[in-house]
Amino acid sequence: MTLREMFGRMAAWFRRDALDREMAAELEAHVDMLARDLEREGMSPADARVAARRQMGNVTSQREQSRDAWGFPRLDAVGQDLRYAIRGLRRSPAFTAAVIATLALGIGANVAMFAVLDRLMFRPLPYVKAPDHTHLVYLQTTFRGTTSTNTVFPYLRYLTLSEAKGVGEFAAQSEWRFAVGSGDASRVRKVAGVSASYWPLFDAPPSLGRYFVASEDDMAAQPVAVISDALWTNDYARGDVVGKSLKVGVVNYTIVGVSPPGFVGATAGLSPDVFVPISTIPLNQSPFSQQSFRADYNWDWVQVLVRRRPDVSIDAASRSLSEAYIRSRALARAINPRVMADSLVHPRAIAGPVKQSAGPDAGLEARVLLWVTGVAAMVLLIACANVASLMLARVIRRRREITVRLALGVSRGRLAGQFITEGLLLAVLGGIAGVILAQWAGVAIRGLLLPEGSPFKLAEDWRTLGVALACATGAALITAIGPAIVATRSDLAATLKAGAREGTHQRSNARLLLLVGQGAMSALLLVGAALFVRSLGNAQNVSLGYDARPVVEAVTDYRGFPMDSATSVAMRRRMLAAAQAIPGVRYAAAFNSRLFGTNTAELAVDGIDSVSALGRFNFQVSTPDYFKVMDIKLVRGRSYTDADGVGAPRVVVVSEAMGKALWPGRDPIGQCIRVGIGYRSDPRQQPCTTVIGIANNTAQQNITDDPRYMYYLPESQFMPGGLRALLLRMDGEGRNEMERVRRALNAAMPGDGFVVVRPLQEVVDDKSRSWRLGATLFVAFGALALLVTVVGLYGMINYNVAQRSHEMGVRVALGARPAELVRLVVGQGMLLMLASVAVGLFGAWVAGRWVQPLLFQQSARDPIIYAAIGVMMVVVAAVASTAPAMRAARADPNSALRSD
């Protein structure tokens, strides 16, 4: 089509009504002239007119053909189909609503899951210059078959890794939460320590000022900081901040620049509020760390980023990094000979994704999430099957209408086009409703999964909207193609001949198959839901050995308040006393190792060559009331008291499991261990620490860890004045008391110091998150799937009963009792469901192999669960077919017979 023709068509399209009238007049004129000529040849006027008309042929068809030249006939056809579809849907609002709601649920589930997954794993970080070439470095070791993956390294390791040859440019980052600001305005904020080489990884010119340079990435240099656009807006009203001073932790920084809006660097979740040179981070740590971070490998805190050169493959980069890692281990071994031999742990490096959720150690949560996404896809399939079945039923009902239209000359292609248009219209409406649903439901899922405060506005999110559109289009094709084929294949003559009898029962194998498929998928999802619910239950029922519910954790930050060792001890006594004085606090204790953040020290026990070969032994250092705060029961012996102080003989309480491991068959009480707490201290040169008590086993390293080797040391003997965190046991639930505790403790803090409080149960709940996630989402989607399937089953049986009303009437006339008719219909529904359940359970059994690692103390092929789900679904099927069955039983033989 030339441009000129296109304009011509467009112009004609706008005038098409006038053109049509002119055309009619023109044809009329032609007939007139022809008739006059015929008259002249001797025909009578009347005959001439008839002959002229006959010769003219089908005037309407000519007008229609001409119309094809005006405008764009294909487009016009689409518009017509659309109008036709809208009219049709408006005529059957119940059908329309059911389809849109079903598709909305299916599409909504997928959109919500994609939105979360995309943010967690796929979406490139903003401002990254070369997203495909920018990596986070992961280091892995495998010891005795267990692989551990790490992304946080000592600073010296970063330096050695960045010397890896021919890889690209390296940068370092480290995330912290520090108090920022001074006085009342100070808040705990996310602070990122980054190397000067970090900024060139991004295409993000500063909103104001500049970024820092290599010479400023030095502890000795004047400390400079870059603040986020958000902090600049909220705290400085976007004024001139360059040159202003900002206190971060205990260090006064000078602001030199502002990062652009939405800049998160390469960190997960929210934008850091302040970026500082990474080598100034140790200024906020102990004097010991400040000295050792450039000299030793005892502190893991730096993440390494690399922008791969375009000519270097990922594998080559990983190989080069692995070599650097091995060099770094050799350097570390020169300082600390206890670094394990490479031949034992197979050290290797991976240039992996910047987003750790997509990395080699994504964790249980990410894996559960991938499964749930698969589940969402299944929900959409079920929804599509349901809609396809509804549309098939509709097509079968409209078969006569369709046949008549075919007989009148509508092309089959055009007819199929109409069904697809109808499907698309429904799917787009369903998609819009789905996005709204996803926005609403996604906020809840986001709460479970994404870092707090991540933006989640789907209407502005083109990637997610694209997925919604793809889902809708896919759904439209799946649901419309079946009916389109069935409708256009219908045999004209046979259907027209069948005559008035609409009640003929028309079996539809396609619908049967769809229903069985739906039922099978629902059964599969419900089994998954049950497995995760049981896993979550098992995880929650694990005896932790303590009771965290009424406990509040309070971590103090003295923000560089100057203290010598004597005032430090006095200060911590004062804080403990302040905690004990808070009304509602039953017990309070200071402690060292936070829950699931356990520490180990070198141990020596007489008669055992290598204690570390027996496993990992975690220690806790605390004040005496720790056992009462955590409600850890002593099996035998006693716990330490204030009397076990400095100068008194050293004492320790060990867990039952640890006692059994170290002294099998003997009484641990009275035994001696030597503890090497402290930097590079050799336990063999330490004095004897006597076991005075045996405590219940507690889950402090992990909920599921086994064995639980723990030992407890008194604060005054091992870390006098060195404990920064408090635990408070309250009368009520911990989470209701937070603000009161925080205020009371803050009041007792000196200088700019402050306290961060958190219910300890939160820490415990975090550990069962993956199962909670699986349980919540599987149950939600499983229930959704069951609902959709039951509605589908009900619809199908109801429809069949309506179709068979004539047959039912005949049966009644022949003497069938109502109960028999009910049994017939209900039996049919149950049989259908039984077939689906069989298929679904087989699927679950097959998938069980891959789901097993995600479960906790729960077999993926638990026969009880399979049986329960099967029975439940068949019962549900029976219930769903009851109402149609009752209708069948009321069939009136008179009307059935009379209609013949």
Binding site: G8, A12, E22, A29, M33, Q65, W70
Partner: protein
């Protein structure tokens, strides 16, 4: 009626355009002219004449206006445009080529 030969496929546009080079004509006139010029051998179906005219109008090969016939009746008169003449040239040439080629084939097989 004398023997009528159906139009060769694709020649309708060519015939209409050629006829219009003789002057401004209405649809009936075009049909009559083709018939007359072909000595009653070719007859344009009314059923395809008007849709073809519409098509050519949209492509800009012909233009039309409403005028009175000598008998005083309102009718639409068509005239060929500059781009219509160009098109006519092309179609004429391609038709001649096609006829010549076809004839060559026929002769070759005859002998």
């Amino acid at each position: 009626m004398p023997d009528e030969t159906p139009l060769l496929a694709g020649t309708l546009d060519l015939l209409i355009l050629k006829t219009l080079t003789m002057g401004v004509l209405h649809g009936y006139g075009i049909a009559q002219n083709i018939r007359r010029l072909s000595k009653d051998a070719l007859r344009v179906e009314e059923g395809s004449l008007y849709p073809a005219l519409q098509r050519m109008a949209v492509k800009g090969w012909v233009a039309s206006e409403q005028k009175k016939t000598p008998t005083g009746r309102e009718a639409r008169y068509y005239r060929i445009t500059a781009s219509g003449r160009k098109q006519l040239g092309e179609e004429e040439a391609s038709f001649q080529r096609s006829v010549a080629a076809t004839t060559r084939v026929l002769k070759a097989v005859e002998s």
